[in-house]
Amino acid sequence: MRPSTRLALLAGWLGYALIPWYLPEGWGLAGYPFGRAGTALALVLSGASPWLMPIGLALVVATLLSGRAETAGTGRALVWIGLLGLVAFFAQGFAVTLPEQGIPWLAALLGGAGQSQPGMGFGALLTLFSLLLLMCHGLAYRGVCRGDIFTTSTIGVVVLLIGLFIFFPVATILRSALIDQNGALALADFVERLFSPTIWGLGCISAGTNCGVAWNTLILAVLTGVITTLLGLACALLVLRTGMPGKRLMRAMTVLPIITPPFVIGLALILLFGRSGAVTGLMADWFGIPRSRWIYGLPGVLLAQVLAFAPIAFLVLMGVVQGIAPSLEEAAQTLGAKRWTTFRTVTWPLLRPGLANAFLLGFVESMADFGNPLVLGGNFEVLSTKIFFAVVGAAHNQGQAAVLAIVLLVFTLGAFWVQQGWLGSRSYTTVSGKGDSGLPAKLPTSATVLSAIVIVPWVLLTAVIYAVILVGGFVKTMGRDHTPTLEHYRTGFAIDFSHGLYFEGAAWPSLFTTLKVAAISAPLTALIGLLTAYLLTRQHFAGRRLLEFTTMLSFAIPGTVLGVAYILAFNVPPVEITGTGLILVLAFVFRNMPVGVRSGIAGLAQIDKSLDEASATLRARSFTTLRRVVLPLLKPALVAALVYSFVRSITSVSAVIFLVSAEYNLATAYIVGRVEAGEFGLAIAYSSVLIVVMAAGIALIQLGVGERKLGRRHVALASSAAEPSPSRT
């Protein structure tokens, strides 16, 4: 065995024999090494937990092999040991859980009939990784991945993590939708819930009642998708194809959705157009327009989502418009086409796939959005809010929530599938490596005028919204009493210096938790994302396509669905972590992992593969190559992944609203709570603090990245890898 394999084995023994197997309650070690804080070995030897014995046996057999040479035979043995150990591990974990739950027949088989055990802890975790590594090292001994231990182990770890924290929770949703309270299969209930009129009802057409949530969600998503796409297109054309003033400002706008918590726009809209909003008040005073609640419902949610997501469409379409080679349009012109004809016959058809892409993006963002419908929805319910109320509301119906989550998941996966399968093969706007010295055609005048008419109100409204966000915290009550005050900030962020430093404000705990959780999860996200990207782009192994598909798939899982999945899956042993800070970290890591993967893939695409190969022919193994060649060149992508996962962790609300607890509350969840309690002033003050904190953070880091010099020739790396990626709520 290689030393690294022995190390993995040692870690396994450490986890099995020395470290408490179960998750401790309040870090108490009473009774160690038996009881709640017991080690697996002690529990097996004392006969308390016989079902843990097979895992120990696997470690014993592996130890017997530790003196053997690293031949294919040893490899095969290790693969079997690891595999059987893992099977035994998961079998006991899922079979023996809470009393009356788990899998009784399997528990009986393992000698734990009628018994129960708490959630697994650090000892179990260490043992799990040890078994996994033993199996992966065995595969490497057998020549898989050219015998590279690092590669096989990384694949194993990534697959395990994705399986445990994406597949398992989503599968749990499906399961809890299909079974009833007693654990029996309840297909009839499922079908009844799935086709219930509250989801699919068409009351809004036939009768005067509300439509089903599915229809509401679809209508909202289609409208949002269409409007954001048109706005984005108009904006992209104006910025790239005319001599419009204020281009830099427009580009800066694309950063806004990244640093704005998703519901903040909705909040600002209430302060402007709500019954007692500033604009409503002016309208009532000057023109006698009666105050109404029109903003609560479809119009308000739509407006908020358009304002929130149009910059994303702008960003996407800017890339698409830039991707059209000017020489194509010049070719059309030299063949006698006038400006408008060129636009109609060449530019527009080339834009179409990009437009469809932007539409689908807006569509999915709208579906996944939770904050705005929560704040502005009123009686207009969409799937994400309905899921929320099914879980936390008075009804507390997990089955219902699971069914709704499945419907939402099917919608987003459908859109994702269309985007990947249909559009993927249809995009003409690939930028070739060859320089194109042509000049882009100017926009026809009519199109310019039309675009300007469309975007001027949008830009103005956006400006007003952000002004409200920044000013709102400094006035008593926006819309009613505009007396300047620092009261909201004092409530939230007061610091008492009288007895040393004391963070008195109500918002401090949640802000600190948020920053802490985001700071812990960001490096993990970047690490896992980049490693996955490395595996996907640089290594060949069986099942690579499947892994790629799964990672891409996790883009399409709405935060609400992930949140519900996490509470359903991790509320009971074997993994019982609800209410802890750990579950927040995990939720952020796996929610933001696509960001890390995406920036990793973008960064790796710019590093010529022959550099890796050159390193390999100079006797470097893949870990050395990764550390000495790939990572230094990938630094900008690494920083981008860090920044965006950090920022997204701070702004995210949909997934975490299910997972926060009194002890671990997060900024966004706290703000939503303030909104629900009607404390708009504090909410808006806190939001602007978040925005300012994140903007400062991004500016700081981009400054750092911008100054990095990478062998002088590769400075171009920084700009493209650091491109902001669309945020999702």
Binding site: R146, E613, A614, S615, T617, L618, A620, R712, H714
Partner: protein
Amino acid sequence: MPKAGPASVEFRHVSMRYGAVTAVDDVSFTIEAGQLVTLLGPSGCGKTTTLRMIAGLEIASEGQVLIGGKDVTRLSAADRDVSMVFQSYALFPHMSVLENAAYGPTVKGLSKAQAQEMALEKLALVGLKGFEKRYPSELSGGQQQRVAVARALVLEPQVLLFDEPLSNLDAKLRRRVRQEIRDLQQALNLTVAYVTHDQEEALAVSDRIIVMSNARVAQQGTPRELYEAPADAFVADFIGDANLLDVTITAVADGRAEVALGPARLSLPSRGLPAGAAKIAIRPHSLLVTRSGPENALPGTIRKSSYLGNHVDLIVDTPVGELFVISPHNEHLPTAGDAIRLAFADTGIVLVP
């Protein structure tokens, strides 16, 4: 560091498949220790894949790869004593010239001082003394190429591989660098496998050439064997230009074949061919333009004539078809429309199966 010395490379029935595509199909050859062998062929013929299989960057689907007599078929690149100079040079852009050259020994775990000493020695060998602090982006194409060579040489590998090393250099530099590579190989007694699609380059530097076509070895031999006795029409056409014509062998006796080429009669080595239909490869230089030459010649009319300084390229219409002729430049420049006769030189005309 003990020097392993050059080692032979042997392929035994090696194939490489990517799904349904066969990039290399049942290829066998041997590269003797201390020789420079070129893998030559048109793009897509499998020569680069073959080279990457020697390096260990691709693992053969079938067959055996031996280096120095040891089976390395399943060994990864990092475990083989082989270095490679890449077409793009693949210099690490974030490392200086010295760091690039010292990468191999550093990764191997040698001390920094030792690694740098080895790197400096090889950098001096390729004539880059004084460039250690520079970054790859601050060097010209030719200098980058030398850094790549020095980096590959530092570990004194058993086998050194070149993947089209000259393709990014301009025409004049190419001639010089290829000679430098050849000198280096002979001075250091290296085993070198060299991939190129340029037959002139291959002829100039190689001890032996392996011509590949459609994933298979078409022919292997010394440059002279390939040029003078091509195994088939493909090799004849690929190594130097050739006019390929259908002919009839009228009789074979004592290893010589009587060949009828239109009105002309030729006596050529039969190369084991029986009487009947065959192909003939005639080098453009071997057709001699005469105004009123000997009896045994092809009558023809010049259709096109291009003046190229020291020689003239001609396209000539003859009874056996259109022929490409390179004529040394003499007093009377042949022009289009001239009626001429094409006589045959003693060399450069072979029968091919």
